[in-house]
């Protein structure tokens, strides 16, 4: 495998991790979040600061990073308890803009210069780069998928499904909306934080513009296109949307247009996602299955 492929693969794996986090919030708990890149960024900045200024190793910093992003996710998830639908959607966009501004304009976060000199991840005494780092990301992705899967099987997960479907009915069955919405926010943002940490140690320098609203849209598109609320949807979405720009690469000046146009067409004709209900994939799958039975 070439380093080019590995780099693309690493980005896809990292973005898939972040998308899985968003899927927990949006897909499982039914809360709209359009500012997920903010948490991706918080994870990256937390890990970068802890490993550069704080002198931690990646592994030492990681639990702290997860805690910090989860905690900030908890705090910023509070509006979801009070605001509904479009108000919440726009508020989360606002959170994204504000977080980026804080990174850009507070000198502690390196300001416009960003943070550089982030060390590589060291595992068993070797500095990970290239393929080993990709495998590290894939291992984390697998872990995130496992956690997602366990979450869907846990009472907490079921509580989130119930809240997503009908909040009043769920709370009449003993499900505390506050507790479980926030639980979903903590889990989802911690996953984004993990993705952020991996990103920081892969790029080895970060700046606020990497985590702007366009990134949030990208992640949300991955979740929606892949199939919101499905286990593998976000991963598929990350794969498709991560590879598209590379496929269009030779068309240099036209590729972003093609990318946008294709995104538009996909959302227009498969609004339920590639793995969602009534999607092409599901239909074909069920037809094949039906065919066998007959």
């Amino acid at each position: 495998m070439s380093d080019y492929t590995i780099t693309i693969g690493t980005f896809i794996a990292i973005q898939a991790i972040v998308a899985c986090g968003l899927n927990v919030i949006v897909g499982y708990a039914g809360q709209i979040s359009l500012g997920h890149a903010a948490f991706f960024g918080i994870g990256a900045y937390a890990s970068a600061l802890l490993t550069t200024a704080g002198g931690f190793s990646f592994w030492g910093a990681l639990p702290l990073v997860l805690f910090i992003t989860g905690f900030i996710g908890l705090v910023l998830g509070l509006p979801s308890l009070r605001l509904k639908e479009d108000f919440l959607a726009i508020t989360t966009i606002g959170i994204n803009f504000i977080v980026v501004s804080v990174f850009l304009y507070v000198p502690f976060f390196g300001g416009a210069l960003g943070i550089g000199g982030i060390p590589r991840v060291i595992l068993f005494g070797t500095r990970l780069r290239g393929t080993p780092f990709l495998f590290l990301c894939l291992a984390f992705l697998a872990a995130v998928q496992l956690v997602s899967w366990l979450f869907t099987r846990s009472w907490s997960g079921l509580a989130c499904f119930a809240l997503r479907e009908d909040e009043a009915a769920a709370s009449s069955m003993g499900v505390s909306p506050v507790r479980f919405k926030l639980a979903a926010f903590i889990l989802g943002t911690a996953m984004a934080g993990l993705g952020g940490a991996l990103y920081a140690h892969f790029m080895r320098f970060i700046s606020a513009t990497d985590f702007g609203f366009p990134m949030s849209v990208m992640i949300l598109s991955m979740v929606v296109l892949g199939g919101m609320g499905t286990l593998w949807g976000p991963v598929l979405g990350a794969l498709v949307l991560g590879m598209l720009p590379e496929v269009f690469r030779p068309l240099t000046e036209y590729r972003m247009f093609l990318y946008a146009a294709l995104l538009l067409l996909m959302i227009r004709f498969q609004p339920g996602g590639l793995l969602g209900e009534s999607s092409l994939a599901r239909q074909i799958f069920s037809r094949l299955k039906g065919g066998e039975k007959e």
């Binding site: 099987r153 846990s154 009472w155 907490s156 079921l158 499904f161 009449s172 003993g174 499900v175």
Partner: protein, 255 residues
């Protein structure tokens, strides 16, 4: 009379200038079926919602099993032992019928962090839920998506969900409306059985025949005020009730 399970003392609920409930007081005894009747807009559903914790009453006191409960949120009320159904059915449409019931069976697990991490896909849970479903006659529909069920089945699903909470008190909000004749009979049978198993019931009902037939006692509300309270026979004869509820010509009594 036996022990008092639920008591409302001068409970008022105001929305802006509207007095949806105005100093309403009544008691519900353990093991009793109490019917709450009154014309539309009388404050019946508001009353339900204050009892089940959806609203915090503007003033007054609600006690359940001796504990003061006004102001507690719905999920705490559920934990204390109040199960409810909704006037307009609220299933979890994209979950299966079985999973709808399992959500309610998780009640003991939702309070703690460690239990809430446990798996709900266990055979024991499943069996328990299936048992409840067969009790209400929905065992065949268990794998279907709840959103695809017809109304009659949904009413029974709501009942099964509420029962899955192992409640001491069941709040039934018009759970007969929209049902076919034979379904009404079936539902009535279910409610009676439920009471026999020791669960007290507070019900709102529009269908007078059902309300009169099921309830031990009735409370009549009108424009937020308690108009009357008593046995079905007493209520039927109460001139004030006839005047307010049945209208001057006494014809619009059913709906």
């Amino acid at each position: 009379m036996t022990e008092i399970l639920l008591s409302l003392r001068e409970v008022s609920m105001h929305f802006g200038g509207l007095k949806a409930l105005d100093k309403v007081s009544f008691d519900l005894c353990d093991g009793e079926i109490l019917g709450l009747i009154g014309p539309n807009g009388a404050g019946k559903t508001t009353c339900f919602n204050t009892v089940s914790g959806v609203y915090r009453p503007t003033s007054g006191e609600i006690r359940f099993g001796g504990i003061r409960t006004d102001g507690l949120p719905p999920h705490r009320m559920a934990a204390l032992g109040i199960g409810r159904t909704f006037q307009i059915v609220r299933p979890f449409p994209n979950l299966s019928v079985l999973d709808n019931v399992i959500v309610a069976m998780g009640l003991p697990c939702y309070r703690g962090i460690i239990p809430s991490c446990g798996s709900w896909k266990r055979q024991k849970t499943r069996d328990g839920a299936m048992e409840l479903l067969s009790k209400v006659g929905l065992d065949l529909q268990a794998p279907q998506k709840a959103g695809l069920l017809p109304l009659g089945n949904l009413r029974r699903l709501e009942l099964a969900r509420a029962l899955a909470l192992n409640p001491r008190l069941l709040l039934l909000d018009e759970s007969f409306s929209g049902l076919r004749h034979e379904e009404v009979a079936m539902q009535e049978e279910l409610v009676r059985k439920t009471r026999e198993s020791g669960i007290s019931i507070l019900l709102i009902e529009h269908n007078m025949r059902v309300a009169m037939g099921l309830s031990d006692r009735l409370v009549v509300l009108d424009h937020g005020l308690k108009l009357a309270e008593g046995s079905p026979d007493e209520i039927r004869k109460n001139p004030e009730v006839i005047q307010a509820y049945l209208g001057k010509e006494g014809h619009s009594n059913v709906a």
